[in-house]
Symmetry: C2
Amino acid sequence: MRQGVLERYRELLEITPNTPMISMGEGSTPLVRSRFIENEVGCAELYFKLEGCNPSGSFKDRGMVMAVAKAIEDGSAAIMCASTGNTSASAAAYGAYCGLTTIVLVPSGDVAAGKMAQALAYHPRILVVNGTFDQALEMVRTFTQRYPVTLVNSLNPHRLEGQKTAAFEIVDDLGDAPDFLFIPVGNAGNITAYWRGFSQYADLGRAETLPRMMGYQAEGAAPIVRGEPIAEPSTVASAIRIGNPASWQQALTARDQSGGVIDSVTDDEILSAYRMLSRREGIFAEPASAASVAGVIKFSGQLDLAGKRVVCVITGSGLKDPDLATQNIDMSLQELPPELWAMEKVLEEVVQGTLSLGPKA
Amino acid sequence: MRQGVLERYRELLEITPNTPMISMGEGSTPLVRSRFIENEVGCAELYFKLEGCNPSGSFKDRGMVMAVAKAIEDGSAAIMCASTGNTSASAAAYGAYCGLTTIVLVPSGDVAAGKMAQALAYHPRILVVNGTFDQALEMVRTFTQRYPVTLVNSLNPHRLEGQKTAAFEIVDDLGDAPDFLFIPVGNAGNITAYWRGFSQYADLGRAETLPRMMGYQAEGAAPIVRGEPIAEPSTVASAIRIGNPASWQQALTARDQSGGVIDSVTDDEILSAYRMLSRREGIFAEPASAASVAGVIKFSGQLDLAGKRVVCVITGSGLKDPDLATQNIDMSLQELPPELWAMEKVLEEVVQGTLSLGPKA
């Protein structure tokens, strides 16, 4: 049977005889070959790592399964996080699966029912804090230090341990590390985890090379690029709307050790990549995921990628943010009566055999 | 590398040397062990087949990859379907990936931007037909017979061929067929495809047994149970809101050959199962998927499942229908000031160490 990440990479994680080997089917996500952007950027091979195919729809499940297993091992009866997005959905899913009380703190300005629909479905205990995200996170830190409740924000070290398994899978699939890994950077935990995974595999001799780590922030939320925290980060890509990344130093280490780059892309570049991904590659991603694709497009204008093997991390499903999808689409729906002649008129190019787009076999 | 369904089951599908072996990472979806409902219904083992982990978020991708590959093999430059839901999303995704023109016909009464957000993202050509779904489908049938455009509704025989691979995977994972397969029934294509897959594996000696096929329709859309088409089918589970199933006879054959059942569940039973799935198993499914779970709960009240191995098919992601998630949740969000004392007061049971729910290790 397809194994979850704890079982699949058991010997490379901190699994003890007392760690419950839970799995909701996380990990072993598809690595899909590009059929359009690969040619656009002129590299030898371009792959997308589809983390939206995880059970709660984002890469967070890899770290959450590890954090929740460790919480159970440590005798904790409850988990807690501050989040309005993928983290709360993943925590609430694994909490529900394991029968743990899950408590989610949400800053009051960020309570959008649509965005929270998924987390709400799992029915965690939700507390709306009349304050900022930073205040909510600080409350979680203090409370979990004082009471037997496990913090599962990315400050929990098991989260990044679990997330490194995505790098293992890429090497297992390709036979070696790619030349470049493009990845969105928000809180900077994921770039840190991937670098740890690639490095560990190289140390073990399971990979011969290491990739250059190419992290991309949104221009309005680019503290690492600017070299200072951003008080009010702003970007359409909500999952990377972070002003003061928790893993800032580790991200710089990943960049410097790998000879990589941490750069920014504009919201226009992100939205352009978002549309290109769905319209040309058939991949409906959350906007933050498109930052990695915007990054490879921007970078390809600066440096020659000829002969290179490239992986872009697609962190989550576009279904997480359906409103953005409809906002960014020209809803030019053609109406017609239910008659064949009407359809023949509208689809004239098909009828006349001059349809321009052909298949790519 | 993880293979798509065409590669993985190549010798059991109609693959020729000219079939393009496309894949967007469909198939090889998780089979997750139940941790709550298994005990509730009293069977030996209960598993959920999470088809929402497919790239477009539903089981349709298995059949669509086959239909689109065959369309390309046959030299078609365009694909066409009538749909407002999972079929149009899957068709538009694979159409975009392969550079095929995708034309989606939508009956005007059914154009809800939220529900269509995903299909819209892939930017197919959308024609709104001022008529019923049946009229739209009839236009697709006539048009695709007359012009070189491939119909990819489930009338396309390659669709069911691709969908049978889910049955192969269940046997590959469990080592044999389960005793019971519970599955939602709308157009009845999926129950037909699963039965074909289980039967083929048994014929080949890859499975020793065959499952009893347990199909569940929604009470307001239960033509097979009633024995006559329903003019105006009605149910909260939109993906199985079908009044005159295309694979009606094949579904009866699957039922009768397997010693199974085709029964109905009420919308209340579906919504109760939908909530139980997310709150107790951490699985956020589309409402139609919950019909299979409602079915096993209903059936367990009629017959003893002791010692039996059961699989429930979870056809698609709950992210497909976020409005329903928020409608069906009591949004009892507690507000509090950003102060530790306020949280200690609200979480009194944690502070006093009397938290009732414990982990299931």
